[in-house]
């Protein structure tokens, strides 16, 4: 981009301008901010407020440079972070201009006069832009003889984020982030002059709305000083005592790059990794702050087998041998013959089902898929530890399996004119997808949500809600407003569908038909980090690895050839519910479970009964759980930090990661205070298979990945419509307006809308004491008119079903519909609506609680 002045200058490329910076000629794209052009030349202009992902502010004045335009020097030095390049501009930075250098020195001195001498106790010390730039552009001695400004410290902005106001350089990065990127203006500038400070509504007024943002932690990372610190990291470490290792977030299918900083066997903090194509430079608070679960006292660090009813630690060989024997017996039906109700002799239970759960790496999912087929001779494998359906299996085969990011990616979302979200609240279910949708919406994309109320995500992505009664979403899709249907038919339109679409019969088919009708591209956004990879790896009863269908003989043959076996089981497997039902009914003899939370399942009681009834339960787990309570053998597996692997995010993009902390590496590998080494699921399954005389060749994630790559993916046309006909009689999906009419008192039941919130007591939030404080309080939402008819009062509790009390909040739901979160954290655990037998679209009883009725389960969070 630079050239020697003697040479004949080539023409300025189209869309560029030519300018001179410190005597060097450079071509820059039109509209580029000067400070970035300098960066490209390797000239570092000091700065504080500038951030490439935020709109320019020009507040700190640290980046001043001299500028000449059209041969005339501008009278004042200019902020290079707010000025766009222009043709013929001549720029002199501190490198060549004494004026710029003096201006920068002057601003630096002014920033420091009121800055405390906190460096030795400041979290930022050692990685602090203020420290660094004070060294490069500051004077060695102070000539400030007055009193420094002080503030009470720290000010808790939330349970997670603390603010030391006297360290703040008022660059407004944090406030601009919260306003522009997250859309949660939870902090603002207050006061003026030297009293100006960052504050909350509470600091301003003494009381205020409860802090709420799922993205607050980003402010800590972009703060150029140590003014914002996290409760979990504050005073814990110095940056230069930490090892920084790139990682991938294990918490959801957004697929964020992270940087894990760790020492002495434990992660001390997680930072966003820079990944322009995925998370840019952001993380949600769950990904940033939920990292202490591996240190849970519930961690399983040694293999255990049940002896006399008690789980007892044993050496690996013993545990593997026992598990192999039990599994082989169960698989072949070698258990006790059973007696029927009428005393007749029944065939012994037979077969083993595999429930890997949705949090696996691609390699692990592949190992489970292969283990089921080769070691257990079955297609009974289903990773979906959530509501699921056969319709969904067809949808996954037709629209998801094997689809690459070139179909729909983050970039497509940003470029789309129209995005339709179906059964998907992006902020709760895939936060970085939400940030990208918000970014798109701020630049003109119309993001429309098919849902039951105007959630914060709807508001922050432009406010377009297409209201639908829960259960009647398919009809709403079939009868879209004309302008929306036309917009979806325009090139680049995208339909994002969430995993909970499986809860509404006919919805995935309707999505598929909508895609066929309009040509809009469809992408499926599951919640868990492993689900997308699991689809491709074959951890489903009807799919083999590489988007091959079980019922396709050629596909089976191709896989069998690579696996070196004569044939694969041909009968499609049972899904999770069918397996659990079979186990409960005494047909299925055994179950192999990965990281599955019974409370997450569509019918937790069925699962409990199934585990109790099954002869053999083998659990591959990180922590003791409800599953391990029933397990005959527990095989410990490694958490994400102690292993390598690949997550495949919703786009179908591989997110490979290396081991952060290698437990094998002596003292630095201590986990939870022991020197135990845990292994990835794929390795454990490989060893277990060997005990069963089967070779999986998944000793390492690399080996598993190589074989999966060898298998490849069969050509997929993502828009292949689902095979199942659209579901019967869905009622007329009239578009609805919010219900604020009061009618006669409502005695009947109302329709339930429900989905999960981001921070709701999930398994990986264990050990986090501060994070739950930033969760959205669980509320029952209802329209004013319906509330009145049901006798509910805003701010007072309402009883959902028989036992669950939630505080009522009014929202714009359709008439006779209520919304509640699917998981409600309660002291000591979580209550799930599924556990209470309630699902999306069901009719439920809602009433003001009667005093002294059944002792209710009260969700945390007092009425406001």
């Amino acid at each position: 981009m630079t050239q020697a002045p003697e040479q004949e200058a080539p023409p300025v490329p189209e869309g560029h301008v030519r300018l001179t910076i410190d005597g060097r000629t450079v071509d820059a794209p039109k509209g580029e901010i000067l400070i970035r052009t300098c960066e490209r030349l390797g000239i570092v202009v000091p700065r504080f407020c500038d951030h490439p992902l935020l709109e320019p502010a020009g507040a700190c004045r640290q980046c001043l440079v001299e500028v000449e335009m059209g041969g005339r020097p501008m009278p004042k030095p200019q902020a290079s972070c707010t000025m766009t390049v222009a043709d013929g501009m001549v720029v002199k930075t501190q490198v060549t201009s004494a004026v710029a250098d003096k201006a920068q020195q002057g601003v630096m001195e002014l920033l420091l006069i009121n800055h405390p001498l906190d460096c030795p106790i400041c979290d930022k010390g050692g990685e602090c832009p203020l420290q660094n730039q004070a060294m490069s552009s500051g004077r060695a001695e102070s000539r400030f003889h007055e009193h420094k400004r002080t503030f009470e410290k720290p000010l808790p902005i939330s349970d997670e984020v603390l603010l030391d106001r006297e360290r703040c350089v008022l660059c407004q990065r944090c406030t601009r982030f919260s306003d522009q990127i997250a859309g949660d203006p939870f902090i603002e500038l207050l006061e003026r002059g030297a009293h100006q400070q960052i504050g909350t509504e509470e600091t301003a007024w003494g009381a205020g709305e409860e802090f709420q943002s799922y993205f607050s932690g980003n402010t800590i990372q972009i703060c150029p000083v140590g003014a914002l610190t996290s409760a979990s990291y504050r005073f814990r470490s110095r940056p230069f005592d930490l090892v920084s290792t790139p990682g991938q977030c294990e918490h959801c299918a957004s697929g964020c790059s992270t940087r894990r900083d760790w020492r002495r066997g434990g992660v001390t903090r997680v930072l966003a990794g820079e990944e322009p194509t995925v998370n840019e430079e952001w993380l949600c608070d769950k990904g940033r702050f939920a990292f202490r679960y591996p240190a849970s006292p519930q961690r399983v660090l040694q293999p255990m087998v049940r002896e006399d009813g008690v789980l007892t630690p044993v050496p690996w060989v013993d545990a593997l041998e026992r598990a192999a024997t039990l599994l082989a017996g169960a698989r072949d039906g070698r258990g006790e013959p059973r007696t029927g109700e009428d005393g007749e002799e029944l065939a012994p239970k037979r077969g083993v089902g595999v429930l890997p759960g949705g949090r696996l790496t691609v390699e692990d999912a592949y190992a489970y898929a292969k283990f089921a087929r080769l070691a257990l001779h079955t297609n009974d494998v289903d990773q979906r530890a959530r509501a699921h359906s056969d319709e969904e299996l067809d949808f996954l085969a037709g629209h998801v399996a094997g689809v690459a990011p070139s179909h729909v990616s983050y970039a497509h979302l940003e470029a789309a004119r129209t995005v339709l979200c179906v059964a998907f609240d992006p902020e709760e279910e895939s936060p970085i997808v939400f940030l990208r949708l918000r970014k798109a919406a701020r630049h003109g994309t119309r993001v429309v949500h098919v849902g039951s109320w105007t959630t914060p995500a709807v508001v922050k992505t432009g406010g377009h809600l297409l209201a639908a009664v829960p259960g009647e979403e398919p009809a709403a899709l079939a009868d879209l407003p004309d302008d929306l249907a036309a917009a979806l038919a325009a090139p680049g339109a995208v339909v994002l569908v969430g995993e909970r679409a499986a809860e509404v019969p006919g919805l995935l088919t309707a999505v598929s038909e909508l895609g066929a009708r309009t040509g809009a591209r469809i992408a499926w956004v599951p919640r868990r980090a492993g689900e997308r990879g699991g689809v491709d790896a074959g951890a489903l009863p009807t799919l083999l690895p590489g988007a091959r269908r079980v019922d396709d003989a050629d596909a089976r043959e191709a896989v069998a050839a690579v696996w070196g076996v004569p044939s694969l089981p041909a009968a499609p497997g049972r899904d999770l519910t069918a397996m659990l039902t079979a186990a409960r009914d005494g047909e299925l003899a055994g179950l192999v479970l990965g990281g599955v939370e019974l409370a997450d399942l569509p019918d937790p009681d069925l699962a409990r009964a199934a585990l109790a009834e099954a002869d053999v339960v083998i659990s591959l787990e990180q922590v003791l759980s409800e599953v391990t309570e029933h397990a005959d053998v527990v095989l410990p597996v490694a958490p994400a930090v102690n292993r390598s692997g690949t997550y495949r995010n919703w786009e179908g993009r591989d997110r490979p990661f290396a081991t952060t902390i290698d437990p094998g590496q002596g003292g630095s590998g201590r986990v939870g205070g022991t020197a135990a080494v845990t292994l990835p699921d794929c390795r454990v399954l490989d060893s277990l298979a060997v005990e069963m005389d089967v070779d999986l060749f998944t000793q390492t994630p690399q080996a598993a990945a190589a074989e999966l790559a060898e298998l490849g993916t069969v050509a997929v046309t993502p828009s292949t419509p689902a095979t199942r006909p659209s579901s019967p009689d869905v009622s007329d999906g009239t578009r609805l307006t919010s219900d604020d009419s009061s009618g006669p008192p409502l005695t009947g039941r109302v329709r339930l809308a429900t989905w999960r919130q981001l921070i709701d007591g999930g398994a990986l939030l264990a050990e986090e004491t501060d994070l739950p404080g930033t969760a959205r309080p669980p509320r029952l939402r209802v329209a004013a008119g319906t509330a009145e008819r049901l006798g509910l009062v805003a701010g007072e509790p309402a009883r959902l079903g028989d036992t669950l009390d939630l505080v009522v909040e009014l929202a714009d739901l359709p008439a006779d519909v209520v919304w509640a979160p699917s998981h409600v954290p309660v002291p000591g655990g979580v209550v799930t609506l599924a556990g209470l037998g309630l699902g999306h679209g069901d009719l439920v009883d809602v009433a003001a609680p009667v005093a002294a009725a059944v002792a209710p389960v009260v969700a945390h969070g007092e009425p406001q």
Binding site: T82, G106, L111, E146, H147, K148, R149, R192, G193, A194
Partner: protein
């Protein structure tokens, strides 16, 4: 320093102030009796573009401090070309957005007292000016952003706006012209920075009043991101007289590049402080003559030509013509023609400290130089005035000033250092004398931690 071009026999030119001394001068009746709202009718008969040219040719320059040519400002408002209709591609373009007129009635510059008495005594001249200006720039909405502390003026303006509505001068299809205009009077909440036009716009939109990044300039993206003209009260109140009297009449007053009359507000040690409307280019000597001379005959020591943000003048500057060029050539600025006059009894370091404390208090806090610089400067000046200063502090003051001037985000920071640099320039010895008060043996007081 140049000699004034010419002296006029009677320097008073009551144009804006001509009704002020009438009883109940603020009423619509009196305003109308003296030819009020005639210029509006004349304007309605003209093409808006011709009005813009008229004001351009009259040479009217903004009275809010910076002296920007008013007609040129209006001509920056993007207007559709003749016959141009919005297309899908241009419907969001500025020329098809609504246009707004915003009147800056925040009058916060220390010593400035012209807009407030104008709105008290003759609010209809402002309202008529608003109607003509809005018609010229094709705005149908005008907001008058008025300083929140001057409750009496706010009430009077509200009353006048009501009267104007009742008389059909405001509202829909004004006097059959087909032109609609609504005026809203919006009271600020007491911040000097909200007089800065972009901070004013943010404040008017209900946000925190801090200056905006420019570009975009208000002419393309101002109030609610639509093309907006921001003008001072006095500027707009001058417009009806230009329409009525013509540009040549207007240019009979003042000087070539600074034509027209101007309200000088005289305060401090003069016999008759108050507002004196005289042609631009009038000197302090003339103004003092009109105002009855220095109070009690005590000699002049220093004065500001246009508020505290304009560098001080001394008795050497009595004959500087007070127009935009004259004040600048003499090393200061015309500012708001807020002439604050101080006699020999006043300590310059003390006055400078008081002004600096004002800027310390009023700095909006957005940018480092102004926020931290004024905090520091005020601290040093306080210490000096307490007899705890050292000679070195004078150098520090000047160096910090050089790090604030031209480094700040907006003109507040630039203006803030004017009293200090000019005070030391003309009265360094007084600062040195203060430092001598420090007992020789004591080291300087090091108040803060380093």
């Amino acid at each position: 320093m140049s000699e004034p071009e010419e002296y006029r026999p009677d320097p008073l030119t009551p144009v804006l102030t001509r009704r002020w001394l009438l009883p109940e001068s603020w009423t619509l009746r009196h305003y109308t009796e003296l030819g009020g709202y005639e210029a509006m009718r004349q304007a309605f008969a003209m093409a808006p573009a011709d009005l813009v040219s008229l004001v351009k040719d009259s040479g009217l320059r903004g009275r809010g401090g910076a002296g920007f040519p008013t007609g040129m400002k209006w001509s920056f408002i993007p207007q559709p070309k003749p016959g141009e209709e919005p297309t899908a591609a241009t419907e969001d373009a500025p020329q098809f957005k609504p246009k707004y007129l915003v009147i800056n009635a925040d009058e916060g510059e220390p010593g400035t007292c012209k807009d407030t008495p104008l709105m008290m005594a003759d609010p209809h001249s402002l309202i008529e000016g608003c109607i003509i200006t809005a018609f010229a720039i094709r705005a149908n909405f005008c907001a008058i952003y008025i300083r929140g502390e001057i409750v009496h003026a706010i009430r009077r303006l509200h009353f006048a706006v009501q009267e104007a509505y009742a008389a059909g001068h405001l509202g829909k299809d004004i006097h059959g012209s087909g032109f609609d205009l609504d005026i809203v009077v919006h009271a600020g909440a007491g911040a000097y920075i909200c007089g800065e036009e972009t901070a004013l716009l943010d404040s008017l939109e209900g946000r925190r009043g801090q200056p905006r990044l420019k570009p975009p300039f208000p002419a393309t993206a101002g109030l609610y991101a639509a093309p907006t003209v921001v003008n001072n009260v006095e500027t707009i109140a001058t417009v009806p007289s230009i329409v009525a009297g013509g540009k040549d009449w207007f240019r009979t007053m003042g000087r070539e590049r600074s034509p027209g009359p101007k309200i000088y507000s005289l305060s401090g040690h003069v016999e008759r402080p108050g507002q004196y409307e005289a042609p631009l280019g009038t000197t302090l000597r003339q103004l003092l003559e009109m105002a009855g001379g220095m109070k009690d005959g005590i000699p002049l020591k220093f004065w500001t030509p246009g508020g505290s943000s304009t560098p001080l003048f001394t008795d050497e500057h009595l004959d500087v013509p007070l127009d935009f060029e004259g004040a600048a050539e003499a090393g200061s600025m015309l500012g708001t023609t807020a002439v604050m006059i101080f006699n020999e009894t006043v300590s310059v370091p003390w006055a400078v400290m008081k002004w600096t404390e004002f800027y310390e208090h009023e700095s909006c806090g957005k940018c480092t130089p102004c926020r931290e610089g004024n905090y520091w400067l005020a601290g040093i000046l306080r210490r000096m005035n307490d007899g705890q200063g050292t000679e070195e502090d004078i150098d520090t003051l000047l160096d910090v000033c050089s790090n604030v001037l031209g480094r700040s985000f907006c003109a507040l920071g630039d203006g803030a250092v004017s009293p200090i640099t000019s005070g030391i320039k003309y009265f360094r010895q007084e600062f040195l004398d203060l430092c001598q008060a420090q007992p020789a043996a004591t080291d300087r007081v090091l108040a803060g931690a380093h």
